[in-house]
Symmetry: C2
Subunit: 340 residues, 2 copies
């Protein structure tokens, strides 16, 4: 029997909709904080299969989630390519920024297979324990990963990467090609290890002009989708071009993704009209409504459910769950959706 | 004879289009840096009419801009309401955050008129020297100003303000009412002092869900537009809901603004189809294309001009000009637009 999430991603209007939440395994859960403290630093947690599998499965023990998403980070890919990565406590990720040809040349795709081995082991462990839920693997989309690789950290505007894209298009194209090819290899390996669905997170797609969006978001995403679909025709692929706004329609039409995840700022009615009806939608509750709970949560949730009813759709947030979220608000949300 | 910018804002497809650039008076100009160094801190510069007028007019001496925009900052409004404001060098603005009723109650609208007097004097000085160009006054939109008032600084996600909007809607509504009323008074005073057009900057509109966007962006903007239009029926109003994305159409239709400024991420073709033809558009060149110059600048500029031709339109950037911009690239851009 096909699992609920895959049915929705295959174009069926499953109701009540399947549900999972971005960053559902995370700091808002006390049991996560306990494991995190035991693991030491963040990279150690991502590369310790037993611990990473444990935190991946934790939210499924509390809530009737329809999916578990591999506990990892989009920057494990540059890490696996040999770019130094560390997570400074309270500061976010730091990498030695790539600003020239020497930086691009120093990346070593031959390291990838051995570096990701512990992550694939996590996938195998989770798949063995996921039961009726779906295991989602993921990667960052090449542009968003390149943002961090070039900037060396998260920034507000990603000025260096945009300047490189405009001013050194060949060099930036080389970097994007390396990351895109590695992403295909990485996701294919996750699928072989047991991921049933994969998702591409393009958190910073929204900083690009329409022309650069097409070059660096739509086309690489299409390349990844085409490559995976050839090898794994039944594996559904969710794309999340955060901040794509008015560019969603072209993204959905050109990339071939099975589903488009929409951020909190997108009007569901717009997404429904802009995205072809056989492409599922996912999203887009404001994580702050989940923090607030009560009437605000019910109102925002109802607005989304009412709009999406009758369409292939997966309930989710529009951004990741935040650490301040009371776990009981997640329980209330799950009850609300199931009884809608 | 009506000035070129006002003609476009009145619905005429002026060609080549009128041009000005957000933050055209700023750190990329050596003559600005010279005045800035003389003025001391940033607030001193904003409240020194002769210096603020000088930097407002500087870009018009270098380039054939169709407009000068008052040199000031959106946070001069909370400053005028008595909320402490300072600009920490290299860190951006800092205010004592408002998180409760006491913080809202401490705001003092009775201070506004005297506090903004030096800014209005700047408006008078600029108007006397602006010649054939148009003088644009401005304010932040209430939501964006409230973001800084609640957070106390710029942040990536504006989590506190969104939590307050969901969890303490009455308190946040009181704050929004105070800021909205003060914005009307502030912009009306700028118009009386000589501003020929006014612009509302809503830099953080994009962090809101569609429902909150309507409540805290569209409705307060409409209230400001209605109030100003009653008193000053001929003064055109530009709204800039940055990041509004798919919500642009509703914003344009409901607020009554004369023109909608679009950010770099918006596809011009989308804006043209979503915004009624009698409402002008403004934008949306990527400031990083202006840093890069050369082919990238020409290609991005041509894409926008080709799309906007035949429509009431004002050429501009999609975000503010950045300090790294070579001034000669701005000159090249101006020549390119004039000869298109």
């Amino acid at each position: 029997m096909t699992k609920r999430l895959q049915r929705a991603l295959a174009g069926e209007a499953v109701w009540p909709p399947p549900v999972w939440l971005m960053r559902q395994a995370g700091r808002y859960l006390p049991e996560y904080r306990e494991v995190r403290a035991r693991a030491g630093d963040f990279i150690s947690l991502c590369t310790a299969p037993a611990l990473a599998a444990e935190v991946t499965l934790q939210p499924l023990r509390r809530y009737e989630m329809d999916a578990a998403i591999l506990f990892s980070d989009i920057l494990m890919l540059p890490w696996a390519l040999g770019q130094g990565l560390r997570f400074a406590e309270g500061e976010g990720p730091r990498l030695p920024p790539i600003r020239d040809a020497a930086g691009v040349d120093a990346l070593d795709p031959s390291r990838l297979a051995s570096a990701i081995a512990p992550i694939l082991e996590t996938v195998r462990l989770v798949r063995a324990g996921v039961g009726d839920a779906t295991l989602i693997g993921f990667a960052g989309s090449p542009f968003t990963v390149a943002c961090y690789m070039v900037e060396g950290q998260g920034t507000k505007e990603f000025a260096h990467v945009r300047r490189m894209a405009y001013g050194q298009p060949r060099l930036f194209g080389q970097l994007m090609d390396i990351v895109t090819a590695a992403t295909i290899e990485y996701l294919a390996a996750q699928i072989v290890a047991g991921a049933e669905v994969v998702m591409l997170f393009d958190s910073w797609a929204g900083v690009l002009s329409p022309h650069l969006f097409h070059t660096h978001v739509t086309l690489p995403t299409k390349r990844i989708v085409d490559a995976l679909r050839t090898r794994f025709p039944d594996t559904k692929i969710i794309g999340f071009p955060r901040g794509a706004g008015t560019l969603l329609a072209g993204y959905a039409a050109e990339t071939g993704v099975s589903a488009v995840a929409i951020d909190t700022g997108v009007d569901p009615a717009f997404a429904i009209s802009a995205v072809p009806g056989n492409v599922a939608l996912q999203g887009n509750l404001d994580p702050m409504a989940l923090v607030a709970g009560g009437d605000a949560l019910a109102r925002e949730t109802n607005g989304i459910l009412d709009a999406m009813r009758g369409r292939p759709y997966v309930f989710n947030l529009g951004h990741g769950i935040v650490p301040e979220t009371p776990p009981e608000h997640v329980a209330a949300l799950m009850r609300h959706i199931r009884s809608h």
